[in-house]
Amino acid sequence: MSEVAFDPTAPHGVHPPSYLTAGHTLRSWLTTTDHKRIAILYMLALTLFFFIGGIAAALIRLELFTPAGDLLTAEGYNRAFTLHGVIMVWFFLVPSIPVTLGNFLVPLMIGAEDMAFPRLNLLSWYIFMAAGLLAAFTILAGGVETGWTFYTPLATAFANGNVLAAAGAVFVAGFSSIATGVNLIATIHTQRAPGMTWFRLPLFVWGMYTVSIVIVLATPVLAMALLLIMAERGLGLPIFDPAHGGDPLLFQHLFWFYSHPAVYIMILPSFGVISELVTCFARRRIFGYEFMVYAMAWISIVGFLVWGHHMFVSGMSSYASLVFSFLSFVVAVPSAIKVFNWTFTFYRGEIGFAAPMLYAIGFIGLFTVGGLTGLFLASVPVDVHVTDTYFVVAHFHYIMVGGAVSAFYGGLHFWWPKITGRLYPEAWARFAAVLMFFGFAFTFTPMFLMGFLGMPRRYYSYPAEFQIWHVLASAGALLLAFAYLLPMAYLAWSLRWGRRAGDNPWQATGLEWSTTSPPPPHNFATMPRVAEGPYLYHPAETGPQHGQPEPEQKQGDHP
């Protein structure tokens, strides 16, 4: 089915050979080592998981429409939000941009033929699918009720769901993540075209590079934490068991040592995407290129040192809380730098409001709110007040959904012509982008308010005074669901009926736009040579309405 749906070049012979026409059989897709085809395979898999996680979210929002627990049992509700968390975090958000857009674009952007290890790339997809099968088994066997956090002793001693299968699925998915991370790092180090120096890399590539470092160093710690949980539950080894002197807090330390950096695993790729969109649709160089790079590097390092802010009420020492609180403020600085720099990129730009730009602007707004409320949670007194309330739920959904998913949709629209060779319908896309912003705001803003009023998370019934907020959130979720489904419909439509895209429909800079759409199997007819930095949308001094020269700014080695 996929090879028919993704074949935009019929009739044959009219268009140059593309990676899509390189083979038409299912076998040619399942044995491909072409990074572009593997990206498509990942996209299909992720779409499926996005649906599964979305159905779980729909169940949650339906249940919460009324204060009483009527649709689901208490246990069923626990299983629904665990399913939502596990699937959305590990089977959608963590892999999302790196394995699809990253896989597709990094070799193109650096002027390479393929990833450094093409067969490892394919293997990572099969590992991911194996993990997906385990996850599907977990669901079919009745699910699991530990929450996505797998806290012990709940997960090891008391839960009666399929903890082993669920933890095993996440464990296996980790190998796929690590393989992708190793591959991206090695590709960016070794496959750059002549002249593509480190400070000429598009920021999307920097996003992929820094996220890969976080993936490679954080994921194994989660793997070990889950392995120890499985050993305790499955083999009866007392690892975290307090009855034998074990310490459940140590599990929390291991878990959050991964899961805080996991937030950056989800958001660093978005930073890269947004930098590409903002520059293209403001027709501007990025403001402060080098600072954007250092900000990402800073995040990927300091992001490893702040996990304790998830444990302020777990009984950690108050001195540790103090240090973790301080470091959590420190890690917010580079995110703020990025928001300021995107905003300054608009300054004196020729701003166009194509759909990808609308997604980017929505991202900047929602990410800013998510980041600022993160500072609330980084300060211990406020955190103690709102721990385990909907305030926290709202905060991280602003980052992961308002941020990462908006960026994913924005990037998907932006590179859709390159990936498929077809243009999407612009009016529908703008409508979907605006709808996504408002649907998101209606869903999650009420959660800040009710969270601050004390509505705890993970309850399937609640006092009637919170109903108005829950009804608002559930109604917003309906809009949001529509805004997610609509692009799937018109993007699928465009595969057959969309207008053909030229090589560079956005007049964007970047090597990926210099080859044909869709690209040929080996990406470039001749090896590209790079002589300038990224985002040279117009030479200095010749920008429209620019009486005076561009402000001097450091941007790698510009000509």
Binding site: I178, V182, T190, L217, L227, L228, A231, P238, L250
Partner: protein
């Protein structure tokens, strides 16, 4: 560099770059492996600080003979693995294949010795649970880690043995050129598995023996 070299794969343009890239890639992966074991060792270290007496008593109950023999076996295997990797690079086919064979056999020997040790542990009441023999409060905790850590190490070693044996087989059949980066990559992985044991041995077998 010859474009037609049988060991050259896409997307690499020269064998030299390919070797550099493969070795760089495995180093990145080994960094990941280090973090994997570091997580468990951190937890182990914290618990040992909390329960010094129980952990020392439990460590004394491990069989230091099995542990020490296995340490010697594994260190020797790293030597033969290093020789095999260097010999492959230098094009010394017979030496490379012979050393690969010895490495795989030493790895197997480790697993056999470990198997006998596990058998003795099980019979000696060192499996956490109702039949556990030691009285000290945290001793079961120690043995929880003993089984988990040595088990994970054994899985790593098994993967290593399969990889080394695969190299030897393909090298012997002539389907894998000696210039392939696979030799160095496998060797680096093998050394890491060895290195993990170098940490596990003093942490699990040696404490509590001096007093």
């Amino acid at each position: 560099m010859s474009q037609a070299h049988p060991a050259l794969r896409e997307p690499w343009r020269s064998l030299h770059r390919q070797r550099q890239g493969a070795s760089f890639g495995i180093w990145v992966f080994l960094a990941s492996e280090v973090m994997f074991f570091a997580g468990a060792l951190m937890v182990f270290g914290m618990l040992r600080l909390q329960h010094p007496a129980g952990f020392l008593a439990a460590a004394r109950a491990t069989d230091i003979w099995f542990g020490s023999v296995n340490t010697a076996v594994l260190l020797t295997s790293s030597l033969t693995m290093a020789v095999a990797s260097q010999a492959a690079e230098a094009g010394l086919r017979r030496l490379a294949l012979r050393c690969l064979g010895i490495t795989a056999l030493l790895g197997l020997a480790f697993l056999v010795v470990k198997g006998f040790e596990y058998r003795a542990d099980i019979l000696g009441g060192l499996v956490p649970g109702p039949t556990f023999r030691l009285e000290e409060p945290a001793a079961q905790l120690f043995f929880g880690f003993y089984w988990a850590l040595t088990g994970v190490h054994a899985v790593h070693l098994t993967i290593g043995i399969v990889a080394v044996a695969g190299l030897a087989w393909r090298g012997w059949r002539g389907t894998l050129p000696l210039a392939s980066p696979a030799f160095e990559v496998t060797a680096l992985y093998w050394h890491l598995v060895d290195l993990v044991w170098v940490f596990l041995y003093p942490l699990l077998y040696l404490p509590g023996r001096s007093g």
